[in-house]
């Protein structure tokens, strides 16, 4: 009888220990997974915003040739090239805040830097990253003033 009770106590102790260890591991993983999921969703959202922000250089917007008063959807290209006039309007009339509202990139700020083939800046617009928590960027290639240009789009918060 004595031997039997000892055996039972030992088994119970071991099983409990394993159970709690497993519980701790599962909980840790669960917490990690939730965080990662949130982070992933946030990054996916950010990437989608980033793509949307970069696409403005390749679409015409609405109306096709908008100005400060008529613009409904922002788009900086016409006939497959970046329209320099639209860049002027963007800088002089639209302004960053209105641009952000038209762009609809959630909580993020956006910054564009357009450089030529020699990486010399030919145009920039937006808010430069400052004490940024997260920064996302994509580099696209377009045609401005009959020259190929590199367009860096930076999204940050």
């Amino acid at each position: 009888m004595l031997n039997k009770g000892q055996t039972f106590s030992y088994d119970f102790f071991m099983a409990s220990a394993i159970f709690f260890i497993l519980l701790i591991i599962v909980f840790s993983y669960w917490t990690y997974a939730i965080k990662e999921t949130e982070e992933t969703r946030r990054r996916e959202d950010a990437f989608n915003y980033l793509i949307a922000a970069s696409q403005v250089w390749f679409k015409e917007g609405y109306p096709k040739y908008w100005d400060n008063s008529s613009v409904i959807e922002i788009g900086l290209a016409n006939e497959r090239k970046i329209n320099a006039t639209k860049l002027q309007i963007l800088n002089s009339s639209i302004g960053y805040q209105k641009f952000l509202s038209l762009l609809n990139v959630g909580p993020y700020n956006v910054f564009y830097n357009v450089t030529d083939e020699n990486s010399q800046t030919v145009f920039w617009f937006g808010a430069q990253p400052s004490q940024a928590k997260n920064v996302y960027q994509i580099e696209r290639v377009g045609v401005l003033n009959n020259k190929a240009v590199k367009i860096k789009t930076i999204l940050w918060d």
């Binding site: 497993l22 997974a33 290639v141 045609v143």
Partner: protein, 651 residues
Amino acid sequence: MKGIVFSTDAIIAVTLGLLLLSLIPLTFESGHEEASFQALSYQANDLLSVLETLTVSDISQKPTVSSLIAQGIIKDKDLNKTVLDLIGTFWYSGNESIARNITKEVLENLTNKCFKLEVGNETVYSSNCPESNTVAVAFRTASGYEIGKPVAGYIARAWATKVVKNITQTIPFYPEGAGWTANQVEITKKFSLPTNITIYDAILYVSVHFGTSQSQAEFQQLVVNGVQKKNDVVWLYLQEEKSGSEVTTAAYGYVNVKNELVAGNNSIYLKFGTPNYNAHVHPGMRLVVTYSLTQDVFTANTTFRKRYYFDDVIGRTGAWSMISFYIPENAKNVSARLKVNAKRVDDTQVYIGGEWRNSTDVKVYVNSNTTFYADGDNEYCYSYTDKGYYCVRDIAGVMNPRLDFDITSKLVNGTNVVSVYLNSYGDIHWGYQDSEIYSDPINDPENSSYIEVYYELPEPPFYYGEIDITKDKLFGYLDCWKPLWNASNPKNCSFNISENEKRITESFVHIAQGFSSMIKTYAWFDNLPQNLVFVSPAIRAVPESVYIKPSIWNVGENNIALVDFQPGGSISDTNYILPWSSFEYTYLAKSMVGYGSVFNSSDAAVNDAIERLKQQIGAEGINATNIQVDSKSVYGIEWLWGPSLFKLYVW
């Protein structure tokens, strides 16, 4: 022992749990890779768009392009080409290094990624980078310039407005005759050939049933435009039929009448008889003339009004003729009139039942073995004499009936046969006059006997730029089952229609026979089911030609079968189809050529177009006497070497 087992279970459970948990981070990684791939994909598309958007002038400062401009290889007119076109131009003209350098110079400073441009399955340019598992690719299809072809210059097309072509025209003699007990039948055919022709060949095939008795009238005259040709006939086939002392012959032969025929109006006169039977023309008598004709190129009509004139037939006694004509398979609004001008017809009567009754002396059949028209109300005979061939009646007088019928309701699309009998039917004759089916289409067309057919086609048989060519092939030259040049029944022949001849607009089989009864004609392509295109509606209704609808024919092996059969349906034992039967068909050839290669001068382009036209129509025996050309300068012709698929890889 129990404790150990329990611990092992727990360890396995823990291990599985940990493995499961370890999978969780992997899902996060895959999301990141997808984003990277999307970014690469945008880059690939952007770079290809740049090549599509930038023009040569936009990259004129690039070393390679600048050098090519300086050398004059790239000219001003090339400056508006896109860079993608330029790369394709050099790549497909064998200048791969130039294409490679342009690609490199344009793209290498626009991305810090590795990239590769392919066209087709060949690499134009590739960065010197290691391979990667994540590669994005963008596609564009584009057309470029053919190797060695100039992209600007002159092109020309040409078409003939007037041509000289060789034509084979068949002028039929319809089965017709009469001529009783050695009295002759006289047949006169008057016809016109075009006036602006040169006759190369003219063969008159003679197919008659005449007597061979020493004491009786036989083949007496064959006069072509006043020249006696009866002794020039080469008899190819003679089939005798004896009945006691009566000997008659179905004879088939030919005579060359090229020297006698003239452009314009012609006349052929035929006179022959039999000892104790009726002399007549058998199927297959026809004149085949080959001549060259100068004609303007035009679009054919869609409405047709054609007259088929009877031959003038004078029979002693009785006269008959069986004329045939055709209506195309797709003809609409078809109508036809029959006019018969008969002369010296004995008006017979019989006294039966205590009264005089008007007997039939004129009979007309239209596609049927029952009469379309009969002038009397009976066909009684008091008795028969002369071996049963002569019907004894009373003769009331002589008449000259002129008949005018609308036969539209009896027409069929295809071959139509109309038979006119004066004082006769089959082998039975009555009356004593030299009755005549009058016809003189040259001098007296309105008083002649004829059938006038009207029909409409949904579209012209040929359009401007198309020339109709007619050929006639004797069965003896075709692939027939029986040995060549043999008479046989049935006769099955095969022949090929070439690619050049595939647009057939009309086709006929001209049936040549000695003795004949009724005929069935089949036509079919390859191994497809046979089409019964004609069957005689009555005995002796074997037409001179049978129309075969062109839709039956196709490029390759085609077949015709002719069967002579008895009214009961059995195949005739002694009625043969002769190898001088023929297949006549008309097909269309193009008399225009489109724009061709690009030349540096208008003259060179025009000369090329004319030469192409001459070669094309020359193959069909056509010469162009008037040619019009249209030359124009062109620029930026995309001589398709593709379209080719451009692929830009980025990794």
